[in-house]
């Protein structure tokens, strides 16, 4: 008996696939079962094929698997697309009365249900997917009554009649299968529990984390798969005194966010693909004006328009190095849906503690995947807010120079300057993308340039020491095989450990949510016989970074005064360097 059930509904875009899938997922969640969902958007074959897949178990599920047990197929293509995942015991629910002749592979169980006719009996053909859900309940031995609550949730706004019709549709589907098929015991353990779970995806977790963190302003431009963050916030953030604005493009979105952030609002923008390219124009300004802000990149397949509805972790270099010139930034990449929530909150705190933009890097897979969690996983009482060196009317006085001018970019020991926002008396100051002095006034003076560059870099050193940049660990800590991953691969890796254990392969998994600054993995890698870095991209961007971290240290000579190297000066520097110790890290 399989511990988990893999169910899917597929058809054409516009067939209501998503909402039907969601209704079933919610019903399973209400029944105290764990759920992990995924979506197929487009396909290898061109056309509008789309599917919503659910993996469910009483135990936690954090990954998709290559197995499909029950498929509701609204089109032949749905069957063809999933042949690899279907197996001998799979059941396929289809509507034999519809014009296409379903070709059900012999080894599989075809369940022909007149979805459309039964839906019409219940009040309208539009409910045919709900009939299929009822049929699926009967096949799996899952009580059809569990659908009621999610039908109420979905259709409650449309009136009780609609809700009742849908409930009836589900029952007609269930009864039809009961009467016409002897499905017997297919062996799915559909045990229920009293556990209360919430069901949400990564983008919803990011949006919820933003509100929890006190984010009040969001500007964005629609782009898959980031849009759903904006859609989540719209209608909710207003309840907390915030606002969402749809900008005319990403150039505007990041600049609006910058304006709001400089005015003291916790502010965020999110984008993907081409949008992050456009935002890179302004990124340097955000960082050099030392503006705290969260920039979320929900990665999708690139380059250019790439495969907009497909998964990729291809923007790591962009987040780390994007933009001309050199400027520190933090890069945080949540490794799970709960972490999407917590890391968003952390990103806002990091941004304000260090007056630095934070890239929050998520990806398409995590953005569309819904997973069940106990509500305590999002314990709002545990949320902490740290606004860093935000000064008020009194504190501002400590930061005025002898002529009463606010030192917005004061070259402090820890590199972090005070932050005053409009309305703070005596805090008025200028900020600019030009190199500037402590007061924010443009300068090209070599000494001040160096002072400001060093100051900005010092913030990172301070953050490295003050904050915890820990990795998450799974599997056997003493295993000789080390697998390192970043971002959303964590769930699949954790489940892969079970398969590996069956094969007798001993593995330690390190899942890294911090890309910059990041934990130093030198010791871990040296302790391992083999190290593998797992990531959803072709070139291994994180692997490059990890390899870089464990390389032999070289000594460095750097100059950033704005003046080129001179021969005599270089000779002298080289001589001095040769007498110095190689830096440890």
């Amino acid at each position: 008996m399989a511990a988990d059930l893999n169910w899917a509904i597929g058809g054409e875009a516009g067939d209501g696939i998503d909402s039907t899938g969601k209704i079933f997922a919610q019903a399973l969640s209400r029944a105290g079962r764990h759920v992990f969902t995924s979506k197929d958007f487009a396909s290898r074959i061109r056309g509008g094929y789309t599917a919503y897949k659910i993996r469910t178990s009483v135990d936690e599920v954090q990954s998709v698997v290559d197995r499909l047990d029950i498929l509701v197929a609204l089109t032949q293509r749905t069957i063809d697309e999933n042949l690899d995942e279907l197996h001998d015991g799979s059941a396929i629910i289809y509507d034999g009365e519809r014009s296409w002749d379903a070709e059900i592979p012999e080894e599989m169980k075809g369940i022909d249900v007149p979805l459309k006719s039964l839906a019409e009996d219940a009040g309208g053909a539009i409910m045919r997917n709900i009939v299929a859900l009822g049929a699926a309940c009967e096949i799996t031995g899952f009580d059809v009554e569990y659908l009621d609550e999610s039908l109420e949730k979905r259709f409650g706004g449309k009136g009780t009649q609609i809700v009742e019709n849908n409930k009836e549709a589900a029952r007609l589907g269930q009864e039809y299968v009961q009467e016409h098929y002897d499905v017997g015991d297919l062996g799915y353990d559909m045990e229920t529990t009293d556990n209360d779970y919430v069901l949400l995806n990564g983008n919803e977790a990011i949006g919820m984390g933003a509100i929890a963190a006190g984010c009040r302003f969001y500007a964005g431009y629609p782009i898959t798969p980031a849009t759903s963050i904006m859609e989540y916030l719209t209608g909710r953030i207003e309840e907390y005194g915030g606002h969402v604005v749809q900008a005319e493009d990403e150039l505007s979105a990041i600049n609006m966010t910058l304006g709001a952030a400089r005015s003291g609002a916790r502010s965020m923008t999110a984008t993907s693909g081409a949008g992050i390219d456009l935002m890179t124009e302004t990124f340097g300004l955000v960082a050099t004006s030392e503006t705290p802000m969260v920039i979320c990149d929900v990665m999708r397949s690139g380059p250019s328009t790439g495969m907009p509805t497909k998964q990729e972790q291809g923007d790591l270099n962009m987040a780390l190095y994007g933009g001309h010139g050199e400027i520190p930034r933090f890069v945080v990449a949540p490794t799970s849906i709960t972490e999407c929530f917590w890391k968003t909150i952390e990103a806002f705190n990091l941004a304000e503690k260090y007056n630095t933009p934070v890239f929050l890097v998520s990806d398409l897979a995590m953005s569309v995947t819904e997973q069940t969690f106990p509500p305590e996983a999002f314990d709002m009482d545990a949320v902490e807010i740290d606004r860093g060196k935000l000064v008020d009317d009194e504190e501002v006085q400590e930061w005025l120079d002898s002529q009463g001018r606010f030192r917005a970019h004061a070259a402090t020991e820890d590199g972090v300057s005070p932050r005053s926002i409009p309305g703070t008396t005596d805090g008025a100051h200028m900020s600019t993308g030009l190199e500037h002095d402590e007061l924010g006034r443009r300068t090209e003076e070599q000494e001040i340039r160096v002072q400001q560059v060093d100051k900005r870099n010092r913030k990172v050193e301070t953050a490295k020491n003050e904050e915890e940049w820990e990795y998450r660990e799974f599997g056997n800590p003493d295993a000789e095989n080390l697998v390192i991953s970043w971002g959303s691969n964590e769930g699949a890796l954790v489940e892969a450990l079970e398969y590996l254990e069956d094969e007798g392969v001993d593995v330690r998994v390190i899942s890294v949510p911090y890309i910059f600054p990041r934990p130093d993995l030198t010791d871990e890698i040296e302790a391992a016989e083999e190290t593998i870095v797992v990531e959803c991209n072709a070139t291994g961007q994180f692997a490059d970074v990890i390899e870089h971290d464990v390389l032999t240290r070289v000594k460095r000579i750097n100059k950033y005064t704005g003046v080129r190297f001179k021969a005599d000066e270089l000779a002298e520097e080289i001589t001095t360097k040769l007498t110095e110790e190689v830096p440890a890290q």
């Binding site: 929890a212 005319e248 709001a260 005015s263 509500p375 009482d381 030009l434």
Partner: protein, 288 residues
């Protein structure tokens, strides 16, 4: 601070490095006076400056200010005002900044009608990059990159604004100090997006759109008693008149409802609680 604010409070201690005689001196003076006259003070004012000779204004004025990326000043200003309805926002930049690289933002800023002021220091040239054609340059204006002139009609920024649904469209001349200040003041006082295109001559790179040219050709709408800025048709006529150069308020929509009011964005967003909002657990429960 309040009534005792003088316009010099808006002056920073950086000496302007504009060429002697540059129109931007007059444009900036008028802006500072208008800000002081309308009861603002530097600690409650946010100036966003574009990139260009004009954009240096952010350095020469004293207030909360951001000197940002070329062409992106308007979005920054809108972000400030949405987050802080209590703050006076003024955006200033050049004709290249506003009508070329930032033209897309201009159209949408006008449409959004955020309660702020946008002053374009229009010298019909790229000053900072030393004299190339700008979107408002005449079609036969010879420059280093357009030796025979751009051979394209100049943008009519006032018409562009009107076509985008502007609620306030005005034009002034940097050297007519009183009128310029008066017009900017009206833009500040306007409930919505107050747009002023200011003729701000570049004495170094533009030898056609000079002080003398504007002095000789400008028609002041104030002296034309018949012009009623609330009359859309009259505004259209003046704005589309390519024969003459005008100064004054061409158009003002009396029924303008600014963005923040339209969208109920009235709170100071800088203040947040020490932890998650009190009822934040409701957000989690939504996912049951």
């Amino acid at each position: 601070m309040s009534s005792d604010v003088r316009f010099t409070d808006f002056k920073s201690d950086k000496q302007p490095t504009w060429c002697p005689g540059c129109g931007d001196f007059g444009t900036m003076n008028g802006m500072m006076k208008a800000l002081a006259e309308t009861g603002n003070d530097p600690d409650n004012t946010f100036v966003v400056a574009g990139i260009g000779c004009s954009g240096k204004i952010g350095t020469y004025m004293h207030s909360y200010a951001l000197h940002g990326v070329h062409g992106r000043a308007l979005p920054v200003g809108q972000g400030v005002k949405m987050a802080r309805p209590d703050i006076e926002v003024m955006v200033a930049g050049g004709d290249g900044d506003g009508y070329s690289i930032g033209a897309g933002h201009f159209v949408h800023a006008v449409r959004r009608n955020v309660d702020m002021t946008y002053v374009v220091m229009d010298n019909r040239i790229y000053g900072l990059t030393k004299g190339q054609a700008s979107p408002t340059s005449r079609s036969d204006f010879e420059t280093s990159t357009t030796p025979e002139g751009p051979k394209q009609p100049p943008v009519n920024p006032l018409a562009l604004a009107l076509a985008s649904g502007a609620s306030f469209v005005a034009q002034s001349f940097a050297s007519d100090a009183l009128r310029h200040q008066e017009i900017v003041q009206k833009a500040i006082e306007h409930d919505g997006f107050g747009f002023v295109n200011v003729f701000s001559p570049c004495v170094t790179f533009n030898d056609v759109d000079t002080y003398d040219y504007f002095r000789d050709s400008l028609v002041d709408l104030q002296e034309d008693e018949d012009h009623d800025p609330n009359d859309y048709e009259a505004a259209k006529e003046v704005i589309l008149d390519s024969e003459k150069e005008y100064q004054g308020v061409m158009y003002q929509n009396e029924n303008s409802v600014p963005y923040n009011e339209q969208h109920g964005v009235t709170e100071d967003m800088s203040e947040i609680p020490d932890g998650a909002p009190e009822d934040a657990m409701d957000l989690v429960r939504e996912f049951y």
